[in-house]
């Protein structure tokens, strides 16, 4: 058996070394492989019999013939057979006897594959199929022609969720194929979700979409000034509501002018149900990323009744409740980091002196933090952030008199600190929230920096990060103090190893680009008939390839490849350049001036 595993993995490694390594590293199932009545092996996993006990090959032939009928219904060659479930491979081998086209097999369970690859010689089969992982790799889906999803029944019994996921991902990927969306991203006027707006916009641009950010930060001072109108809370609330409606009218005006395919609204943006309804009437898909704790902000109830799709950072039981009330879709989408912002820095000694400390905490002065951080006062603690007034014994640790810290300085602090403490906020517990579930942005940002962090244990932290390897978690304040002291005593290399592993994980799985790609796939899969994006225009990179031998191609090769090949996109990229203009630049400049003189008004 061991000989089969080694030979099969070698065969797989020759086409997909990463997958081969992942399977090799998986623990085998405690499954029993036994001979069927006709003598060939069959397998039961988790109590599910994967093939017939009597004659697996005959059963596989019947399945393959039905599958071929479905494949034939597609018509001309070019269909891709996508099979959910590897089983013990009998059905796949039978299918390949009749089907000469492309065959992708999706098997979510590496442990099963580890077990199965040890039972038989699959070298020929592995040479004929693409063994795709779940979640699906975008590149794998991009290769599919007219996919026909075929389900291996017993595999469905083992993992019905996996099949649903495959359906959604495949539908979403296919709907997105060749599409460049026009996306309007709407920020809140202020608050923690404001910077996330820009990260999402950048990620969507990198994914090749046309993006316009509607930044409402200039209206924050107006919102603040409302407090001056009246000492009566009710009166202020009336004015705030009116101000929100005013901003909603502005958002509608922007959407009417920009004609987006999708309006992505960040939590806390001044968008009420009536505005969402008008946006939908304009033909735009509407999505809200509710990056808030549903226990603190109850407006999610109205939101799920208005948007096409709401993305949340908490799972069950909240997810089920939200789905029950929703008119559209609700999905879990955890936070992330933008590695172009949160990254390792080479700091000067002066910067290290300014921003560094043995222990740092960056964040607002919530009640639980005020209480918990006292335990670190003898560990060289520095506290950065606002809303720490009246914090008693912590006052000496507060930096810059509790001023707001810029994102750039945050990154310097994370880089310069030996042990970064990350404690999720709570207004009702004393220290660590024992029921805390979602993972805050700070966790991802510290990880993206490659910084060593101690973070309070959260129910949803695994599988995002591996505790003990990529981050170190604490369950209570006593553990926090112990871990801080222990990790301060350990070597810089030990801490750096944890930080580096965290950064690798972020880059591989937890960037805003990953999140936006996921958001779009789910959105596309769930939108049904409302998915009507305009045809996609090319990007600078695509035109550069088409024009490789021309002056235009040579010019475009030096510009960011994801830039839409539109006049505003190209001109914005050219404005970053200096020096003499070549011919291609001059022609684009001519078109820019022509557009300003004659076309802009017609377009408006």
């Amino acid at each position: 058996m061991a000989d089969h595993l080694e030979a099969n993995l070698r065969a797989l490694a020759s086409v997909d070394p990463e997958r081969a390594a992942a399977i090799a590293a998986a623990e085998p199932l405690t499954a029993t492989c036994r001979p069927a009545a006709n003598g060939v092996p069959t397998l039961a996993a988790d109590g599910v019999l994967l093939h017939s006990l009597h004659d697996p090959m005959r059963e596989a032939q019947r399945w393959a013939l039905e599958a071929c009928e479905r494949l034939a219904a597609v018509g001309d060659a070019g269909a891709t057979a996508v099979v959910f479930g590897f089983g013990l491979g009998w059905h796949l081998e039978a299918l390949l006897e009749h089907w000469r086209g492309s065959l992708t097999v999706v098997e979510p369970d590496d442990r099963l594959l580890r077990t199965v690859l040890a039972t038989r010689d699959f070298r020929v089969l592995l040479g004929r199929i693409v063994l795709a992982p779940l979640p699906l790799d975008e590149r794998a889906v991009d290769r599919w022609q007219a996919p026909v999803l075929l389900c291996h029944g017993p595999s469905l019994l083992r993992d019905a969720g996996g099949l649903r996921e495959l359906h959604a991902r495949a539908a979403g990927h296919l709907a997105l194929r060749g599409v460049r969306l026009r996306v309007l991203v709407v920020s809140p006027v202020a608050g923690g979700s404001h910077p996330i707006t820009a990260y999402c916009a950048r990620a969507l641009t990198e994914l090749g979409h046309d993006v316009r950010t509607l930044d409402l930060a200039p209206f924050a001072s107006g919102m603040d000034a409302i407090d001056g109108f009246s000492p009566r809370a009710r009166a202020r609330e009336v004015v705030r509501t009116a101000y929100g409606r005013f901003l909603g009218a502005g958002i509608l005006a922007a959407a009417e002018a920009y004609e987006p395919d999708l309006v992505l609204v960040m939590a806390q943006a001044p968008v009420d149900g009536a505005v969402v309804e008008r946006l939908r009437a304009l033909g735009a898909l509407t999505a809200l990323w509710f990056v808030e704790d549903h226990r603190l902000f109850g407006y999610w109830r109205e939101a799920v009744g208005a948007y096409d799709h709401v993305f949340v950072i908490q799972e069950e039981p909240f997810l089920g409740e939200a789905r029950r009330l929703a008119i559209g879709q609700v999905d879990y989408l955890p936070l992330a980091a933008d590695p172009t912002v949160h990254r390792p820095l080479d700091l000067s000694p002066a910067e290290r002196a300014t921003f560094g400390a043995p222990v740092s905490f960056v964040g607002a002065g919530y009640r639980n933090r005020r209480l918990a951080l006292r335990a670190l006062l003898d560990c060289g603690l520095r506290i950065w952030g606002s809303e720490w007034d009246g914090c008693g014994p912590l006052a000496g640790a507060i930096q810059r008199q509790g001023a707001r810290v810029s994102t750039e300085d945050c990154v310097r602090i994370f880089n310069a600190t030996t042990v970064n403490v990350n404690l999720h906020s709570s207004t009702w517990v004393d220290g660590v929230d024992p029921a805390g579930d979602f993972v805050n942005p700070r966790t991802f940002e510290l990880a993206a920096v490659g910084a060593f962090q101690l973070v309070d244990a959260r129910r949803l932290l695994p599988p995002l990060f591996v505790a003990g390897e990529e981050v170190v978690t604490f369950e209570d304040v006593r553990a926090l103090r112990d871990l801080v002291r222990a990790w301060l005593a350990r070597s810089a290399d030990d801490r750096a190893a944890v930080g580096a592993a965290a950064r690798r994980r972020v880059l591989a799985e937890h960037t805003y680009r990953h999140r936006m790609a996921r958001l779009l796939v789910l959105l596309a899969a769930g939108a049904g008939e409302r998915w009507r994006p305009r045809p996609r225009g090319p990007t600078v990179g695509e035109v550069a390839r088409l024009e490789s031998d021309s002056p235009l191609g040579r010019l475009l090769a030096g510009l960011p490849p994801h830039t839409p090949f539109t006049l505003p996109g190209v001109v914005a990229a050219l404005q970053q350049r200096t020096g003499d203009l070549d011919e291609a630049e001059s022609i684009l400049l001519f078109l820019h001036h022509f557009d300003q003189l004659y076309v802009r008004e017609a377009r408006a």
Partner: protein, 549 residues
């Protein structure tokens, strides 16, 4: 044979205004003239004598490509056009469109002798002829504009000879067809006919229909028939006027091509019009105009380019308004009394200039001008009944004398009008700042060649920048100095290159030139004609006169 490219991407009237330049280029010898125009105006070129090749640019199609976001196709459309133009290997390119778009186009075509707006290698605007720079400065200081656009065109092209009027050839077939149309309307050959032009590019430039009706009633009472001209967009006004005037009117508004309109205007005894394309077309076919100037329009800079045309201007304090202004109370429309206009048309039709003098003295709220050409063949205006705004006229004439001396080498004679002491003082002050700046530039120039430390050089250069800012401020404060300062700015902007000592020297020369000009202009405003004014020939391409002391 010399191959000349003229780029004129503006409108109908501007194209007609190139006609004397084209004739003048041919008068210089064996010349082939290609004119690049927007495709919609290509038919206008068919009537302009001397255009050997019309090169239409389909800007509508280009616009459609951009609206459809097909940037690649738009890029290649432009690229192909550039390659074709470049292959013609022109000897001289004249850009008569003052736009950044045309500047880039001229740079792309890359004719070595390019005049007008172009672009430096690193994307900055260049204006590569002194008359072209003066035109750009005049556009920013239009109250004191000294020359007609046509003369700017001619001088940029180096044209001194050729006809002193616009030119357009009427096709015989058009004459015949028009004769039939007019006969159907009951108008016999030789019957009196006055044309009324209703439209203009913007509302501020359109005289209200009620005033045209009043004028029409006066003319109809004198037994004249009226033909209404205009575009399809003028239909409501045409209906209003036709209804009011009844059978006196022949309504051809929106019903003619350019070639047909030329025949209509040729057939008419007089055209009553604002500052419009049809005004230039009438002049080009030899028909007198009574041209009404209000809003942004000024008789000096875009008036009818031919002798013995009548211009009536509303000389309100805010005239001419900026092209970008959206006026909420265009009272200048009403300053031109329709009764005065009606009498003016009758007198002009009769060629009664003495009568027009009398009318000008009767309606003194209107500035009455007869168009003439001066001894150097440059368009000018003679005020009928005396100058209505003598101070403004004097400053304009002083500028005119200055620029003719500077660029044509014409000795400046006395400038009539009251002495303008305050303006002269402002100009003397400008000369003082320019002298200090020139001295500072000389210091910088010396430092650049003496190997001074960089920080010293930077310090001195900053002082020079401060003085230059003082010059700009002075121009902004004192209207009389504005045109000098704006021209200085364009001339300085035109200094390009990487060699610091050369640039420093050129800057010093520009400042010395500014100082000299300010002194000269001040003298002209104080009855000191031609004191120290040179009669040297203009040195085109530099705009500076380094040897003047």
């Amino acid at each position: 044979m010399r191959k000349v490219l003229i780029v004129n991407l503006t409108r109908f009237g501007d194209l007609l205004q190139t006609s004397p330049t084209i004739a003048g280029l041919h008068a210089q010898g064996d010349t082939h003239v290609t004119v690049v125009v927007e495709r919609n105006f290509a038919d206008v070129c068919e009537g302009i004598p001397g255009i050997d090749r019309v090169w239409p640019l389909d800007l509508d199609a280009l616009g459609r490509l951009l609206l459809a976001e097909d940037l690649r196709a738009a890029y290649h459309a432009v690229s192909r056009e550039i390659a074709a133009l470049r292959a013609e290997r022109f000897d001289l390119a004249l850009n008569f469109s003052s736009s950044r778009m045309s500047a880039v186009l001229l740079r792309l075509i890359g004719v070595p002798d390019t005049r007008g707006w172009s672009m430096s290698d690193d994307g900055h605007r260049l204006i590569t002829h002194p008359w072209s720079r003066l035109f750009s400065a005049s556009c920013l200081t239009r109250r004191h504009a000294a020359f007609n656009l046509v003369d700017h065109y001619r001088r940029v092209a180096g044209v001194r000879d050729g006809p002193l009027r616009l030119r357009f050839t009427v096709q015989p077939a058009m004459r015949r067809r028009l004769g039939e149309r007019l006969a159907e309307a009951g108008l016999g050959e030789g019957d009196p006919l006055v044309a009324l032009q209703l439209g203009a590019s913007r509302a501020i430039r359109r005289w209200p229909p009620r005033h045209l009706i009043a004028v029409g009633r006066r003319l109809a009472a004198a037994g004249l028939r009226l033909v209404l001209c205009g575009g399809a967009g003028d239909r409501p006004a045409a209906d209003e006027i036709a209804t009011a005037l009844g059978s006196a009117v022949i309504d051809l508004c929106g019903r003619t091509t350019v070639a047909e309109l030329a025949a209509v205007l040729e057939r008419s005894d007089v055209l009553v019009t604002g500052d419009t394309g049809p005004m230039h077309l009438a002049v080009a076919v030899g028909t007198p105009v009574v041209a009404l100037f209000f809003g942004p329009a000024l008789p000096v800079d875009t008036g009818p380019y031919a002798a013995d045309q009548l211009c009536l201007h509303a000389p309100v304090p805010c005239a001419p308004c900026d092209h970008a202004v959206r006026c909420g109370n265009p009272f200048c429309h009403d300053v031109l009394d329709p009764e005065a206009v009606g009498e003016a048309v009758l007198a002009r039709r009769a060629g009664d200039w003495a009568g027009l003098e009398a009318l000008a003295r009767r309606w003194r709220q209107i500035a009455w001008y007869r168009t003439v050409f001066d001894a150097e063949g440059l368009f000018d205006l003679v005020a009928l009944g005396g100058e209505v705004m003598p101070e403004r006229a004097r400053l304009r004439r002083a500028y005119r004398a200055l620029w003719k001396a500077e660029f044509d080498g014409t000795p400046a004679g006395a400038v009539p009008g009251p002495p303008l002491r305050a303006d002269a003082a402002a100009l003397a002050a400008l000369a003082g700042i320019a002298a200090r700046a020139a001295e500072q530039a000389r210091r910088v120039e010396r430092l650049t060649t003496s190997g001074a430390p960089l920080e010293v050089l930077e310090h001195e250069a900053r002082l020079l920048e401060d003085l230059d800012a003082a010059i700009q401020r002075h121009g902004a404060i004192h209207e009389a100095a504005a045109q000098l300062v704006e021209l200085h700015r364009f001339e300085k902007e035109n200094l390009v290159g990487d060699d610091v000592p050369t640039l420093a020297r050129a800057t010093r020369l520009e400042l010395e030139t500014l100082e000299r000009r300010a002194h000269t202009l001040a003298a002209l405003l104080l009855h000191h004609p031609s004191a120290g004014l040179p009669a040297t020939a203009a040195r085109e391409g530099t705009g500076s006169h380094a040897g003047f002391a």
